[in-house]
């Protein structure tokens, strides 16, 4: 972060600006309080006192969400699907980015445009045909189907980012490797992957968020064995939205992501910097 000397007056101005910014920050951490506070209430206490601070904390909601509502199973499912999807996204997009940014081949520009344009096709637009495609390929109710779907839907942005990143690398690197007689697969493995690491980390983190939080695609593809977010959405019943149970589920579902974020916070920020801007 580049700092530069500012006058006393401006310093004071910045302090003044910091106050509303602190208020915004407060709203950003409020959800944590909200969720924990309600998750610890019994349903009866919630109904009788929605806004107050929990008076008789109970862990019953967590237990119930985890066991009876199958969240433990769904949790495992989400982890498997998210990890493998993110791996697939990283591999596929770095391969494609390498080819599109560095290598010369016919139709390159067209292929790039096709992939970018598909960014414009949201899942709602293709709901029924997409579902039929999944069935036609025999992928309904398989984790592989969901992993492929996630990879396909989150791919265009990732490919764009990697293409952008690789096209900014000094091409002497590739040249040097090729003169040493390395095959292009080796160049990818030994040069492009390590060089692309900052952007790949960004992609990994963003795609983890997208996959973990997705409901719509998962609802369509995995109809028997759910992912966690769908399990949470299902806690919102027809009649009985048991808010404490729902928030307990929410806390369980959000915890891994929040922890991941807190741990990798610095990497995320700097990763986005290199990934999105340099290039």
């Amino acid at each position: 972060m580049s700092e530069f000397t500012v006058g006393k007056r401006q310093r004071r101005l910045l302090w003044g600006i910091s106050v509303p910014m602190a208020l915004i920050a407060l709203t950003c951490v409020y959800p944590v309080f909200f969720a924990l506070n309600n998750a610890l209430k019994s349903n009866r206490e919630y109904i009788l006192d929605r806004f107050g601070i929990v008076s008789e904390p109970t862990f019953q909601n967590f237990v119930q969400a985890w066991t009876r509502s199958n969240l433990s199973e769904y949790f495992f499912n989400s982890v498997v699907v998210t990890v493998l999807s993110v791996l697939a996204l990283i591999i596929v997009s770095s391969l494609a980015g390498f080819a599109l940014a560095v290598l010369r081949f016919p139709l390159r520009k067209l292929i790039f445009v096709v992939i970018l344009a598909s960014l414009m096709i949201p899942v709602q637009v293709v709901l029924v045909p997409f579902y039929k495609t999944i069935i036609g390929l025999g992928l309904l109710n398989t984790r592989a189907g969901l992993i492929l779907s996630y990879t396909a839907f989150f791919l265009p942005f990732s490919v764009y980012l990697m293409t952008s990143f690789y096209s900014g690398l000094p091409r002497e690197l590739v040249e040097a490797a090729r003169i040493d007689g390395a095959k292009l697969t080796q160049v990818w493995w030994h040069v492009m992957l390590p060089m692309g690491m900052p952007a790949l980390i960004t992609l990994g983190i963003l795609n983890t968020l997208y996959c973990w939080n997705d409901i719509l695609i998962s609802l369509l593809v995995l109809q028997d064995n759910r992912t966690l977010m769908v399990g949470i959405a299902a806690l919102r019943g027809e009649y009985t939205t048991n808010v404490p149970l729902l928030t307990a589920g929410i806390v369980l579902a959000a915890a891994p992501i929040v922890i991941l974020y807190l741990v990798f916070q610095r990497k995320i920020v700097s990763g986005i910097a290199v990934g999105a801007v340099k290039g």
Partner: protein, 303 residues
Amino acid sequence: MGVSKTKQPLRKRGGKARSEERRFAFLFVMPALLLVVVFRIVPLIWGFVLSLTDARGVTEGAFIGFDNYAELARDPAFHDSMANTILLIATLPIWIMVPMLLAILIHQGVPGGKFYRAVYFFPATLSSVIVGSIFNVLLRNDGQLNQFLELFGIGAIDWLGNSNTALLSLIAVQLWATFGMSLLIFLAGLSTVPSDMIEAAKLEGASMLQTFWHVIIPTLRPIIEFVAVVTTIGVLTNMFGLIYVLTAGGPGTSTTLPEFLIWIELGRMNRPGYAAAISMVLFVLMAGIAYAQVRIMSRNVNV
């Protein structure tokens, strides 16, 4: 972003090396292309075919030409959803200005900036179910926001139940939930603004405002374009979850967006053919933006 280097082709080699390069390039790009074509392009074409039928429920539906589109032209709910979309797109400058301004302030060294940078991204990690549930309680007529406003003598406003405020409330919540992402992109962009340029401007006696306007904003232009495009796609396709939890499309049709209408036609109304027609209109709308996007993005990448 912002690739300015001109492209140097790989050094000339023999024809064998070049054909090998071609082969590998296709091999490398194939998984991505295949996935995109199978799961997105093919379903899109399929959807277009579906939109030309009167498919209802489980019946296949007969070919009816463009009748669904003609019905769309008469459907008041669809008109309202389009008007809402236009309003939504009109708020785009806010979606860009707010995170940009905050990013610049953090970059300029607002006290506590590092903390804000960490905390502002937090809502972006939450799913819409979570965000929706929270604001559902906050924004109710007897919710905490109104209780807070009452301290200042401001009477209760039914944020989500009034046609005048429902869509704006929804937009505000979505903005809150996503501004952290744009903010980080802007911060990243700002880190590439050469600090000696800012210093030079300072030395020449430029005020903070002048520095923003003449030095920082021009340098940020590619980032602004990038954020604009990504945000547009986001608001047109990712607000479904919030709509469902916060307003269910109401009151009336005041928060019904095309993506939500598609969902209703598919579900409660059980008309896949008609839903497909709405989908196609939404796609064309986005393709218009896609055109601008592809131009901006490929210009920056220099493919």
